[in-house]
Amino acid sequence: MRTKWLALSLAWVFAVTLAGCGSSQSSGDADVIRIGQAVALTGDSSMWGQAEKNALEMEVEKINAKGGVLGKKLKLIAYDTRADATEAVNVTKRLLGEGVVGIIGPGQSGVAIAMSSVTEPGKVPLIATTATNPKVTMDDKTSKVRKYSFRTCFIDPFQGTVAAQFAAKELKARTAAVIYDVGSDYSAWLGKYFIAEFERQGLKVVANEAFRSGELDFRAILGKVKEAGPDVLFIPTMQKEAALVMKQSADLGIKARFLGGDGWGSPDLITLGGSAVEGAYFVNLASLDDPDIQNFIKDYKEKYHQDPILPNPVMAIDGLYALIDAITRANSTDPVKIAEQLEKTKDLPVLSGKLTIDPVTHDPLNKPAVIQEVKDGKFIFKAKFVTQ
């Protein structure tokens, strides 16, 4: 009996340690402006998360070297969300406890939506980087804009529309199949928007298959796709799943063209997918060969000795500029006033071009989307679409 209790208490201690008990520190000095960053530093999305953090650290250093903002230095406080909604909510509470004026990140829609349950009542602006689901800034229950949620990227309906139109017009597809991650808001909705636009064009979706997050073997559902024989297979997932789907499609002898969203935009797609990803197309937010961001890429490479993993760092820096611009215009570090000014952001020169925030939706207006092709193991710029 005694040993049993000991074992149980051991297991309990273990579980508590695992859950991690973070305590918030009180904020002391008043001559710094604290900017929070909630970003995935470990886990499946850490590659972008790390680049996002690196990029912001680099920019904050530059801004501080020029004297900071409102005569104060900026201090970046970055915490790891592991791209997990529960973890992100904890991290957000901690950031609010440390008195940040705004939070930049996360890159995942589900995480951003979860975080807004803390930032809305806490009245601190949240600027998501690559969270492309409409619900990030719009609350579906009230169908009103979330007052403190913003973003610097385009939204999924637009991305899904671009992909569907590209499939119909450029790839001349008559039928399509979709494979999506049921555990990701990003993937599920992007799939739906693609289907809506594809069918609106009078074309047919012959298979729509879901899988669970973390899946490795897609051959069972690919067997169904093979049976349906679509012209195009749309895979609105992250690069890891996309690469596996394409590899395993080759195993099954599926002949469809592959198409994806901005989740693919990592050089990993090519190393993981090998020859199977050749000739695939995807919609992206930014491209390494974009002339506007060459200076940033040069600085980043000098500091970190590697290419930034796009598009997250670019979107994060856009967010930082927008936040600084709002602080300057508000002439205050009160998060409520900053949020009011963020809503009025207009034609602000940012890294990816000019940023105008739509006050009705808190989404950027006229954000360009890039279509890239995988060719000879590289991402090649293919076409550009602009939102209206």
Partner: protein, 290 residues
């Protein structure tokens, strides 16, 4: 489509079988589920990847290196995490807690040192498929199945015919009596972990080549555990049959019901089996195996 589903199911089941055999081997001697096994598989994959990509060794040498590396790590795992418990005659609950701790420790060690990046093996075995009766299967899969079954058969032969093998089989019935008859149990357990580790290295290589290499890849061994339960924990032929059955059943569920509920199905199967058929298909004796 049914043939394609069955072929895919067998390909997946083959990998489950290989891992399940490693699980069962440890269970048959120490009567606990070695949850750290998944991490050993993961480390085996990393070893193979480094030998192939960084050291530039040929594939066959890398596979051998991965097998030896994982065998050594598995042995070390026993020495460091279980041997003291074993000498104290601790209850299997302690072994399992220690195993879970080791699993999480190793996983986080990889996160902290190597990082969370995904690595993929280059396409050494060409991305081609073999088609028959309208069903397709990758060349790598065929290769993996043949190789796995050869390895399992060699293990089987070793257990049946060598002195160490006979001692292992004896210990799986009763460790104490075996010890009384003059068998050095510490050395025997060392052998078992070396063998299980060798299979882990092989599984790691195949998993890495088929999917990719990353810190949490070892969690797929949950499925191997279910496969081992289907076949009867501790039974090696049971582990093979259990792996194949689970692979085929899962693929059938994914294809004809939904891929989303596949794991719901697999783990329900685990619970139901433990309730209804705790010895599995080939389990030997009831009270001590579950």
């Amino acid at each position: 489509m049914l043939i394609q589903t069955l072929v895919t199911g067998l390909a997946i089941g083959g990998i489950y079988a290989l891992m399940a055999v490693g699980y069962s081997l440890v269970f048959s001697i120490l009567n606990f589920s070695n949850f750290a096994y998944g991490s050993i598989i993961m480390l085996g994959a990393y070893v193979g990847y480094y030998l192939l990509m960084k050291a530039g060794l040929p594939l066959a040498v890398s596979v051998a290196g991965s097998v030896m590396g994982a065998a050594f790590l598995c042995y070390l795992n026993e020495r460091m995490a279980y041997s003291t418990l074993r000498k104290r005659n601790a209850a299997s609950l302690y072994f399992m807690i220690s195993a879970m701790g080791t699993a999480i420790f190793l996983e986080n060690l990889v996160y902290a040192t190597i990082g969370s990046r995904f690595y993929a093996f280059p396409e050494i075995i060409t991305q081609q498929n073999i088609t028959f009766w309208g069903a397709s299967i990758g060349v790598l899969d065929v290769f993996a199945i043949v190789f796995s079954f050869t390895a399992i058969y060699m293990l089987h032969y070793f257990l049946q015919h060598s002195r160490v093998g006979i001692a292992i089989r004896a210990a799986s019935y009763d460790m104490q009596v075996c010890q009384l008859n003059g068998v050095n149990i510490t050395r025997l357990v060392g052998w078992v972990f070396l063998l299980a580790g060798a299979l882990a290295g092989l599984s790691g290589m195949f998993l890495g080549m088929k999917y990719m290499v990353y810190p949490t890849m070892g969690w797929i061994t949950n499925k191997a555990y279910i496969a081992a339960v289907i076949g009867g924990l501790g039974s090696l032929p049971g582990a093979v049959v259990g792996g194949l059955i689970l692979g085929v059943l899962e693929t059938l569920v994914s294809t004809y019901v939904s891929s989303v509920i596949r794991d719901v199905f697999s783990f329900s199967l685990l619970v139901v089996l433990l309730l209804v058929l705790p010895t599995g298909l080939f389990g030997k004796y009831l009270e001590e195996k579950v």
